[in-house]
């Protein structure tokens, strides 16, 4: 019994890692094999880890340098200052998050023939991929610093978060065109509504109560199923779901 529980938990964690739309290693995306790119990559990887763990104010450039195996002077030479390093890391993640989500829409919605099954699969994908520790830490970092760096964080929102919802609205519109959903008067708003139905409960808990307060295995199916039913009651072709 205990073994089964542990195995279930392990499979759960394993599955969520596979489903992740973003991993901290991805934050580093510099081409080339020269010595400078290698150093920059090492610094960005180290800084991502330090910022995610300690936040902006708590991050120390000494720790970044030590983790990257370079001198502090090298860090400053490559990235000017802490703010610049923060901007590079945060902005570097928005495209990656967007790509991961667009791929999720393609895999769950674009080939679907059954709206309920497709939306449930996407809801599970949201829950599995957006509540991993590193995505939650990234989200927490951006929120914490949004008033100190409204331009960087606003740009992260616009080019990552917001665009991912616009893309979801487009995927929902394609479902309408394939006869799977009703006409959507505002596809982006419908996308936000779907995401809100799925994520509002587990995301607020993880944000307010801490990254360790992620969703529990048994809860995910229910969240996904119930969100899908409400969405289909409004936008499905059956008229109303029970």
């Amino acid at each position: 019994m205990i073994f089964e529980e542990a195995q279930k938990e392990e499979e759960f964690v394993d599955q969520r890692q596979r489903a992740a739309v973003w991993q901290p290693e991805q934050a580093v995306s510099i081409e080339g094999e020269g010595r400078t790119p290698r150093k920059r990559r090492a610094i960005l990887a180290a800084a991502t880890e330090v910022f995610l763990q300690h936040g902006y104010m708590g991050a120390s450039m000494d720790e970044v340098a030590a983790k990257a195996g370079v001198s502090k002077q090298t860090v400053y030479k490559q990235f000017e200052n802490k703010e610049r390093l923060f901007a590079e890391i945060v902005l570097g993640t928005s495209d990656q998050l967007l790509d991961g989500l667009v791929q999720a829409y393609a895999e769950t919605l674009d080939e679907a023939t059954d709206a309920r099954e497709a939306l449930r699969a996407l809801a599970r994908r949201f829950l599995d991929s957006l509540t991993t520790g590193s995505v939650l830490q990234l989200r927490r970092l951006v929120i914490a610093e949004a008033d100190r760096f409204p331009e960087v964080c606003g740009s992260w929102f616009t080019s990552g978060f917001e665009r991912s919802l616009v893309a979801l609205g487009e995927a929902l519109t394609r479902m309408t065109e394939r006869g799977l959903l009703r006409e959507l008067s505002d596809p982006t708003l419908a996308a936000y509504q779907f995401a809100g139905l799925v994520m509002y409960k587990p995301m607020n808990r993880a944000m307010f109560a801490g990254t360790a307060a992620g969703p529990v295995p048994g809860e995910l199916d229910k969240l996904a199923d119930q969100a899908t039913e409400v969405f289909l009651a409004a936008y499905g072709l059956e008229g109303s779901a029970s």
Copy 2:
């Protein structure tokens, strides 16, 4: 035209201030008129302002003391350390937020005879009261520090945020009993779904893009109306909304 716009904006801001479920001044709720309570009150008021503005790491005890008009020693004598002061402020707000929201449910839902009108009014109340600058700053502060202080922030979530959604579920159940909504198999989840439908879009923008990126006047009615339609399609008695 410009004057009208400005007047409209002013009315909008004014209305949102009236609707606020929480104001920073409320964080201070010590009874009595002795010298020590008066000092504690001044320190808590000053600390609330400093923490909301600069976050935990950026808050300076010197600034708190100066704003409160007391010595730094007095601050430490009354509150031991920065962490303790943070805990007092954060935990002090959760009851107040809960009370404000429970009152909003009573005023919008409990006397209602029309489900659509009642839910629209509550949605507007959510949008007006939860996206004011000080509520957004408080939310940002708790999220930023949740991994550093999971006990304090977890307790804020459980005794404030989560309880306000349980209370909304109870108010929705009373609407079911009065023949205004269908039977709800999980009233708290239905409450989260309603809040998610209303708040997911404006709250994420304000959290990620900064407190200044609050909702725009013209957007609020649409957000409230569309959220209500989706919720009623699933839980209303009409079967389905258009």
